[in-house]
Symmetry: C2
Subunit: 170 residues, 2 copies
DNA sequence: CCATTGATGTCCGAAAACGGCGAGTCAGGC
DNA sequence: GCCTGACTCGCCGTTTTCGGACATCAATGG
């Protein structure tokens, strides 16, 4: 069940990790897809191309990829279950350039045993990059998975690590 | 899953069979509830009270209850599965004051065996009175069921029978 | 005359399967 | 001894699947 009677807007943006499709409604940014992963919900009838909010999103993402932005300032409106929203909200608190484990994330939302559930919720994060699910990795340091593909996850972590360490040459 | 990005309007109307709640979107009348049956979807946040269409609906319903209207002229936009839409559409062709059986209705949509399914679809008619599901009764003449309660069903059939026969005194 | 049965689409509840995990165990290799 | 990797098992929210129940009715068999 979708939520509101709002009009839905979308836009696309080229990035170092491929084309991104942005989706928003009147309340905020709602989804970001990697072009390659065929998202089941793609192409609703009645979507309207572009809106003011998406211009900000696009600009901030470009800054992020240029290494000039470490956190986003956008109204967000992801759709999900209460548990998922809790997980995604917690994602927003992981600092730039830092990684934590799925177990640690589970502990932070006070459900230390809901580890696999956290993994699943993470895998369904509708706002990758903006909500940095890529900063969550296995307890043993393995990357374990990413909607946009593991290479993309590695790219994002490399980028952040490089910038955070002030290493301008990579 | 709701359908459109349309704003949703509602209004209420008193009738001989209790308070009716009318719901519409930009495309047409969408639902009519009997006040007493606690409808699960009641009271969405963000609904807007009243709209032009609902004034027409209200007026035509009042005329209907006064015995001065035998069919409705309103844009309709009920939400349902293809099968349900087919059933509901067929409801609209049953003349005022006439009753048919569930089996007959099944035959009319070319699915003579989908009798119980027709019953179920009938029970989920979102636009009672306007789409006259009350004109469908058991093959043996029993009323068998009605969302607004069997007394209401009987009332509607009595009303139509009286008017159709020209019996102004009941 | 009554009870039984089969056909149909949808909803609802229960139950099972399934993950972007992780701690523990155990066998091998060095 | 110490590390590694393969394996097992428990954990938990979500999704999928499945089995009934329905605003029925005609046919059948006792």
């Amino acid at each position: 069940m979708t939520n509101g009677p709002d009009t839905i807007y979308y836009d696309e943006i080229d990035s170092p990790v491929g084309t991104l499709r942005l989706v928003a409604d009147g309340r905020g940014l709602r989804e970001i897809w990697f072009e390659r992963e065929r998202h089941p919900k793609q192409a609703y009838p009645g979507w309207v191309r572009a809106a003011a909010l998406l211009k900000f999103a696009r600009a901030q993402l470009e800054e992020y990829f240029a290494g000039e932005r470490q956190h986003f300032e956008l109204p967000l409106h992801p759709i999900g279950t209460p548990f998922q929203l809790e997980v995604w909200h917690e994602l927003g608190r992981i600092p730039y350039g830092v990684t934590i484990s799925y177990g640690e994330l589970a502990r932070r939302i006070d459900k230390p045993l809901a580890v696999r559930a956290v993994g699943a919720a993470n895998g369904r994060n509708p706002l990758p990059i903006v909500l940095p699910c890529h900063r969550v990795i296995g307890a043993n340091g393995s990357l374990t998975g990413f909607g946009g593909g593991l290479p993309t996850k590695r790219y994002l972590l490399d980028l952040e690590d490089r910038i955070a360490r002030g290493d301008l040459f990579g």
